[in-house]
Symmetry: C2
Subunit: 426 residues, 2 copies
Amino acid sequence: MRPDDRHSGATTAKSGKSSARITQAGATSRWLAKQLYEGAGRPSARVCLWDGTELGAVGNAAVARLRIHNLGTLVRLLAYPDLYFGEAYMNGELEVEGDLVQFLETVYRARHSGRGNGFWNRMTDGVFSRRRRNTLDGSRSNIHHHYDLGNDFYQLWLDREAMQYTCAYFPRADTTLEEAQAAKLDHICRKLRLRAGDTVVEAGCGWGGLARHMARHYGVRVKAFNISGEQVRFARERARAEGLEDRVEYVEDDYRNVSGTCDVFVSVGMLEHVGPEHYPTMAKAIDRVLKPEGRGLIHSIGRNRAIGPMNAWIEKRIFPGAYPPSLREMMELFEHRAFSVLDVENLRLHYAATLRHWLQRYEGHVEQVRAMFDDRFVRAWRLYLAGSIAAFSSGQLQLFQVVFNRATCNDIPLTREHLYPAGGRG
Amino acid sequence: MRPDDRHSGATTAKSGKSSARITQAGATSRWLAKQLYEGAGRPSARVCLWDGTELGAVGNAAVARLRIHNLGTLVRLLAYPDLYFGEAYMNGELEVEGDLVQFLETVYRARHSGRGNGFWNRMTDGVFSRRRRNTLDGSRSNIHHHYDLGNDFYQLWLDREAMQYTCAYFPRADTTLEEAQAAKLDHICRKLRLRAGDTVVEAGCGWGGLARHMARHYGVRVKAFNISGEQVRFARERARAEGLEDRVEYVEDDYRNVSGTCDVFVSVGMLEHVGPEHYPTMAKAIDRVLKPEGRGLIHSIGRNRAIGPMNAWIEKRIFPGAYPPSLREMMELFEHRAFSVLDVENLRLHYAATLRHWLQRYEGHVEQVRAMFDDRFVRAWRLYLAGSIAAFSSGQLQLFQVVFNRATCNDIPLTREHLYPAGGRG
């Protein structure tokens, strides 16, 4: 792909004087657009301005067109791309013509290719480094922002069975979303080597699907913590309807307040909301409840490198307080109490696949979403889901499952073969 | 177990005056022995002094007796236990009556139980924190110290087929050493998804067993680096004898000088000799040679926590310059060049099993070892092998296999099922 920065003839001048003005305006906007395109590392896309200026990849090399509707948007994009791309997309001040996921993938890949000038990264790293803190109150408000949007909304596009809002597990490429979420739950249960009668503490249980799955299929008792009131209400109702209320207890409380003792500690998709500054507290909480022979698993979005807070727009609009740690940062949690890490699996392509299912279902129910909220919300969540696919498939985000136990416990299976039974549920 | 600190009547006084002297001497040595025993966290063993003083665990609670032959040894043990336990054992100034491995296991477990006063740790951490540096010259001298003891020596007790001086892989508890080492090599090859025609760079190849195994069974070409002259000579001879010299090249050079490009980077049992201060250099070397779609694996002894240098005696007598990193420290290597970690497996119990085989074979050839070296050497290596079993089985040491690739490469198998074929070689 070679960038093509010719100025299109679409805006031809009407008179001599205004021609000079327009040419000058065209030259300025073209120069700005070029900064944007080059600074972003020359993604395989075309940039089109309101005045007809076009540049970027040509022909088949362009997977999509980014259409910027006015100068203000272009300037804001140059100043704070991480934040304002999302804001402008949400507000309709720019459009992506073509496949949104492919467009975001090429932007991610180009940005981290080393071709760019690091401009986008530099501009955003400093300005938006103030994450909303996950204190006890802060966490409650941050979690409410995202997870209390209404169970009806999430039911439109999550799997119908277990309501899992975390990475599924696709043993084969043609596994359905429902199958893949059940497979994820079983994969986790096998990693934890659940035995009938075990007691389980779950930190951050979402709509309670894992806890119910464990109780139903593995004969264990689960105490599951969550600070999202909407989710806990839903989880309790489901458990009652399924006759599991004697084996699953949902507690509306913070993971820092876990109590009692357990054979198994599990946390799926919560660590992203904890923040590295609270990892010692989390390690302490696990250390407090886990029995000497206990097993644990933490499942979390992560990154290959600790590069400060998440994308600024995601942090502002979607996930306040979220922070995907690098594996090194995650290890600080385990090292803090000298837990022994037994197994780490990176499932990032499974998350890309999961998100593709979610986006497809979301688009299938987009009119209902619009009726529940508004068009800005529809566009914001489309961008968030598409951007997440791009982040996982381009290798910007990872999904780590970490199995651990206590350093002195020798009850460890010799191999991981038990995770891969020939047939169904192990 | 309750410590029993009564003074045995073995040394009864002969006269009034000398009785007072002896009683006082006895009281002092008993007090010192008690400091040693309590400070070590009250291991399940009995301490017996030259003067008949006995204390510690009683009856079946004592797995062994530590017999200390003189006051000087007791004092040195109190001052620098990490170093002088090994020195005194090697010199015959103390004996362990009973099972040496069990004795060392209870010492390890007691020491890290929190019952002790941290005395042993405190005393050693500061004093022996100067590791011998692994500069280009330093590494050569450090590696020569251990690996150039003579191939004849290692052939006495390593597996006969592949001469592997690293952790084997036991799919079943009754796997033989030869089978387990071959299984380890295949496990690594499967993790690396070797394809016929691939080019492999190996950093730190020992006697070259992995390189030959890869070339013979997977049809790849291997360039294997090692700075131990003795090992490289042996490896080349074997490759010639087995008709593999056109597919395996052994290079007597440092990993920092790896060159060319490769589909696969592998390093088994070398990272322990690199030192965290050189991880960025190692990451740079990998980054230089690994193709964009390349795969990598690093296999290394590790720890649950970064607690400074290794045991002082091991560092002085056995492995100068060695440093087993915590997983967090290992992650610094990968994070340095934003490699993506795909899979981590902790095989510590496999290393305990491997070492048990080695120790058994070593004891079976102990007269030959004595003839090659001397009795101090025999005792030093017995302690080293037994101590390593205890360290892995009590959870003081870990064995990490880490699979990685480049962040942008999506050629990743969906599951790890291919590592567990029902039958033999994959």
